[in-house]
């Protein structure tokens, strides 16, 4: 048997393997260039961008919890113009698709961002974040109300012809309803999940540890929730689903594919091990080889129930 085929296609974007880096956990790519080969992963998804530079929340912004971490970065980012000037030139030199994650405080800002990004040939696709729990306006409002989600995704759809991925929040009672609204509005793919709202308390000081009081939970602790949601959504929609949440190893990634994911994103694992995404991709290849599976696509949704 020759080498197994790890390539997949998501929203029209061709990936050499199903492993992407999750927004906000991989900077703008360059930060990790010394630790892994950026051309051995499927795609780079950049830190969530807004129209104007955004300050983010006061510190402390992160705290470790059992099996996970809470973050309340508050979407600090350089803004779209600085991204184009300062970050994109490096990304252009890397032969790996770059997907830009974006969010707006208002409906109009989402549209404006999509229009600006639409003009950049280096950007392979957009991932619309309607699910950040750490900003007061925007973000979460669009991500928890199907009508608002429909509206914002429709607007972005009108503003760009690029592949459009919508990133869903787990902080809802009915994730399938949200997924359907986004697909109806024109999403080419869905990624899930973003972080789960959580909290940590310092007993000694009787205070919340994060300056923002609450933060987003990520890491191995959220994997079972993410797997369940990916499984539910993948059955309900016709577009590809990207699985995110606590993926640390190739085994984790393959489980998400069985649950119905066409690709996966590696987040918190990048912090523990900056070469994690490449290691996971290589581990998937080894698994396919050892099990005589010629094509990773055979595993998508192949869960036996």
């Amino acid at each position: 048997m020759g080498k197994p085929d790890l390539s997949v296609e998501v929203a029209g974007i061709k990936l050499r393997n199903p492993v992407m880096t999750a927004s906000g956990t991989f900077g703008y790519g360059k930060e990790f260039a010394d630790y892994l080969d950026l051309e051995k992963i499927g795609a780079i998804i950049t830190k969530g961008l807004s129209i104007r530079p955004k300050a983010g929340n006061p510190t402390p912004r992160i705290v470790e919890t059992p099996g996970g971490m809470l973050n309340a970065i508050g979407l600090q980012n350089v803004g779209i113009d600085a991204f184009i000037q300062e970050k994109l030139p490096f990304l252009r030199t890397v032969n790996t698709p770059v997907i830009v994650n974006l969010y707006g405080n208002t409906l109009e800002e989402y549209g404006e961002l999509a229009e600006k990004l639409d003009k950049l040939p280096e950007v392979a696709g957009l991932e619309v974040n309607i699910s950040c729990p750490n900003v007061k306006q925007g973000g979460i409002v669009f991500g928890t109300d199907p009508n608002a989600a429909y509206e914002v995704v429709s607007l972005v759809r009108e503003s760009t012809i690029k592949p459009l991925i919508v990133k869903l929040s787990p902080n809802v009672t009915n994730v399938v309803e949200m997924a359907n609204a986004c697909v109806d509005a024109g999403a080419d793919a869905l990624s899930l999940i973003n972080t789960l709202t959580g909290m940590a308390i310092d007993l000694q000081k009787r205070r919340p540890i994060l300056a923002n009081m609450t933060g987003g939970l990520s890491g191995p602790a959220i994997k079972p929730v993410a797997l369940r949601m990916v499984w539910q959504v993948a059955q309900a929609v016709k577009v590809p689903v990207i699985g995110i949440g606590g993926i640390m190893t190739a085994t984790d990634a393959l489980e998400f594919m069985l649950a119905g994911a066409t690709a996966v994103q590696v987040g918190t694992a990048n912090f523990l091990d900056p070469s994690a995404a490449q290691t996971i991709a290589e581990g998937m290849e080894t698994y396919l080889e050892e099990n005589g599976i010629a094509d990773v696509k055979e595993l998508i949704g192949a869960l036996i129930t």
């Binding site: 990790f32 830190k47 402390p60 470790e64 970065i73 191995p220 523990l272």
Partner: protein
């Protein structure tokens, strides 16, 4: 870079404080004083995140096998405060650790003819030893060490062996002068500030007080900061401090891991 180190020794140097010596790849020899490493305490999900530590010392030793030549080692000095440092303290010679580093921007040594004033609070002494070791080669070096009690005053004899003039103070007076290290520093500076530069590491309130002293006397001052870190490479934005020009409209956050941990005190907002 990312590498595996073997622990050469891990000893308690004062109650609750440990010094760990590890092998390092030759590339680590280029580390500058003030840079740090991120340690994966255990190859498991608990503790999940790496723990940052300053480089206490760096050197080479001849290996037992002559054909292997010399090997680079480095040391960290750490205080047991929680889960991760507790686990580290139980590790033994021969155990291996996964490490990232050297990371961040270290101290800028500046004009060798000037006098170097090192100020360390508690375990903030850690990055100052390697700094002192480099600086005594060319400059006059004084160390002001402060802590709550005598157990917090670490490795003074090692500094003295380098030829550093040391001034010790403790809050409870159990060693050296009684009171805050910043009071002793201020007194020393009031005698003369001629061509002196301050290099400080310790708890945030101490650094803020030192920044104020440096401002009052208008002397150059570099501080090494601590922050909660997840990635250590400037990607997560968890470790930021407010830069000089920061406001909500003009965000000027500096990453402690990448833009620091050593900063010119004038580059930060100290409110």
């Amino acid at each position: 870079m990312q590498f595996k180190s073997m622990i050469i020794s891990n000893i308690e140097v004062s109650p609750g404080y440990f010094k760990m010596r590890m092998t390092a790849p030759p590339a680590v020899r280029s580390a500058t004083p003030g840079q740090f490493i991120m340690v994966r305490v255990r190859d498991a999900i608990d503790p999940l995140l790496r723990r940052p530590f300053g480089i206490f010392d760096l050197g080479t030793f001849a290996t037992a096998y002559t054909d292997c030549g010399t090997q680079t080692y480095f040391e960290i000095l750490y205080k047991v405060v929680g889960k991760g440092t507790e686990m580290l303290s139980t590790l033994h010679q021969g155990d291996h650790l996964d490490i990232l580093g050297p990371l961040g921007k270290g101290f800028m040594p500046g004009d060798p003819s000037g006098e170097k004033i090192l100020v360390g609070g508690g375990v903030g002494m850690a990055p100052l030893y390697y700094l002192a070791k480099e600086m005594v080669k060319t400059s006059k070096v004084r160390l002001f060490a402060g802590g709550r009690n005598k157990e917090d005053i670490l490795c003074i004899t090692e500094f003295e062996r380098l030829g550093v003039e040391t001034y010790v103070s403790t809050d409870d007076g159990t060693l050296g002068a009684s009171g805050l290290v910043t009071e002793v520093l201020e007194k020393h500076l009031s005698e003369s500030i001629d061509n002196k530069t301050i290099f400080a590491c310790g708890p945030f309130p101490m650094l803020r007080a030192i920044a104020a002293i440096a401002g009052r006397h208008d002397i150059p001052c570099q501080v090494s900061l601590e922050a909660y870190m997840a990635c250590g490479v400037g990607a997560c934005l968890g470790c930021v401090m407010k830069g000089r020009n920061h406001s909500n409209e003009t965000p000027d956050y500096r990453c402690v891991c990448k833009d620091g941990p050593v900063f010119d005190y004038r580059d930060l907002q100290w409110d």
